[in-house]
């Protein structure tokens, strides 16, 4: 049983089909990169996986006891959040939202996990800082810690390095790889950066309004479409 499986998924917007014939599966410990040009439906597919948008057809099956609400999500950076008056700790704590159930407040266990995840990300010393004074890289670490608070199985990342400088980008990629290897958390990442994707990921899903390729990185390198796309990117 795979962690997540898409069967004949299609998605649309106001009657127009944006994505169709999506068939792939992700197993525990995989690192899947979703690549493709702008407007190829990468972000749309992520929204479908997270149930932020409904599917036009097909189904997404979760396995291995993964609950829908237990997917950790790192959204694209919003400009409106940059100056939001909140402390780092408040933001990371909100990652435990899916554990609240009917309780109005967080428990000691929630706070222990928040501390643990913040230490993984190396941001525990920033807990009292205001989010708005942090650098772009630090802000992304905060958002990653929040996503990790929501899950122990699957992280979904939507272009996590957009707008970061090369050194911070590298740090961010290393961090994501470490989460994948050391914590055995499965990763699904949408990325513009094909080169980095090939270095990091175990599997590639190439979209262009429909599924153009799905397989391991080696298979992708040897495929027609992979050769063409990788050459363009280089």
């Amino acid at each position: 049983m795979s962690l997540l499986q898409c069967k004949d998924v299609s998605m649309g917007y106001e009657g127009k089909t944006m994505l169709q014939n999506i068939n792939f599966q992700v197993n525990e410990g995989d690192y899947l990169c979703i690549v493709g040009e702008n407007g190829s439906g990468k972000s749309t597919l992520l929204k479908g996986l997270l149930r932020l948008k409904s599917l036009a057809g097909g189904e997404i099956i979760l396995g291995d006891g993964l609950l829908q609400k237990e997917i950790g999500y790192l959204p694209q950076r919003l400009p409106s959040q940059k100056n939001f008056p909140a402390s780092v700790y408040e933001i990371v704590l909100s990652g435990r939202l899916n554990q609240l159930g009917w309780r109005p407040f967080y428990t000691k266990e929630d706070k222990r996990i928040v501390r643990e995840r913040m230490e993984w990300m190396g941001i525990w010393h920033l807990k009292k800082e205001s989010f708005s004074v942090l650098s772009g890289g630090q802000q992304q670490r905060v958002m990653l810690a929040r996503a990790l608070c929501a899950t122990s199985k699957l992280l979904v990342l939507d272009e996590p390095v957009t707008g970061l400088d090369p050194i911070v980008t590298k740090e961010m990629y290393d961090l994501i790889l470490r989460i994948n290897r050391e914590q055995n958390i499965t990763i699904i990442m949408v990325s513009h950066d094909t080169k980095a994707s090939m270095e990091q990921a175990t599997h590639i899903l190439h979209l262009g309004k429909e599924q153009l390729f799905f397989g391991t990185c080696e298979q992708y390198e040897n495929s027609e479409i992979g050769k063409k796309f990788l050459k363009e990117g280089a």
């Binding site: 997270l50 149930r51 932020l52 829908q68 609400k69 997917i71 999500y73 959204p75 919003l78 409106s80 959040q81 939001f84 008056p85 909140a86 402390s87 408040e90 933001i91 704590l93 909100s94 939202l97 899916n98 609240l100 109005p104 407040f105 967080y106 009292k128 205001s130 708005s132 004074v133 929040r146 929501a150």
Partner: protein, 275 residues
């Protein structure tokens, strides 16, 4: 100061105005933090104008104003929320259309009805307008708002900061938005006749902006806005009583002053932190 307050509460209509006004200030400030941060502040302004139209129609038909105004404004709140969620730019003009449209309906109905003298009371508020019934409803609503805010504080924070993330973790964000809009609508209706339809939205916007100048943590912003709002209301009412100024406008002026002070304090704190 204490003596003046004692003098003020010896008039029963003034006591009522103080109770209703401070509770409305408190609720408006709490809701305002979320509305301002979600960029929904204009909804508050739009709702007060809708409230004016509904109020004018209600008094023309000789109906209990609250019974007409509350449902109409709550419905308008759902509607405005829908519009602003669908598209940001169109939503902006739609709110302006609804605001000026309702204002026009209110003015025409009020003048046809021959109650021209009340018009300025509606627009700029009057402390004589608060009835015993308003006071009871206001206390009940305030308790509900404060309770909801405390019990759902963490969820409200999550929705305000990042609605998509909250939704992905299984929260029914749409339902929370609707609740916040409905509570805002009721708060506006309750405060409208006291503060004036043209001035009530300031209670939503000023305190949270002031608090955000000084505080950078969400829970401090919320508490700061609530305290600032209630203090400004009392200061405004006291000034209005002592110098015979219009009450709603005095409260807004005090809020403006508070914002200026907070902006200065905030920039001093920032400078100190940099050194």
């Amino acid at each position: 100061m204490f003596q003046i307050l004692q003098e003020m509460i010896s008039y029963s209509f003034l006591t009522r105005a103080l109770v209703v006004g401070s509770l409305v200030s408190l609720c408006a400030a709490l809701l305002g933090v979320t509305l301002v941060l979600k960029k929904y502040a204009m909804i508050g302004d739009g709702l007060s104008h809708v409230g004016f139209g509904a109020l004018a129609v209600a008094s023309a038909l000789n109906m209990q104003p609250l019974y007409v105004t509350i449902p109409v404004v709550v419905i308008a709140a759902f509607f405005l929320l829908r519009i602003s969620e669908n598209s940001a730019i169109k939503g902006d003009s739609a709110i302006a259309l609804i605001s000026s449209g309702s204002l026009a309906i209110g003015v025409v109905v009020a003048s046809v009805n021959g109650t021209n003298t009340d018009l300025s009371n509606y627009l700029f508020g009057s402390i004589l307008s608060v009835s015993k019934k308003d006071e009871i409803i206001c206390i009940a609503v305030s308790i509900v708002v404060v309770l909801i805010y405390i019990l759902f504080y963490h969820r409200i924070f999550a929705i305000t900061f990042d609605e998509n993330f909250a939704k992905a973790t299984g929260l029914h964000t749409q339902a929370y938005n609707v609740v916040i809009a409905a509570l805002t609508a009721i708060t506006i209706v309750l405060g409208m006749r006291l503060m004036g339809t043209l001035l009530i939205s300031s209670l939503i916007i000023f305190p949270s902006l002031s608090a955000m100048r000084v505080f950078k943590h969400f829970h401090f912003v919320v508490i700061g806005a609530a305290v600032c709002s209630v203090l400004c209301f009392f200061a405004g009412m006291t000034a209005s009583y002592c110098y015979e100024l219009p009450s709603g406008a005095s409260v807004v002026l005090v809020n403006m002053f508070a914002l200026a002070v907070c902006a200065v304090v905030g920039s001093i704190i920032n400078r100190l932190k940099k050194h």
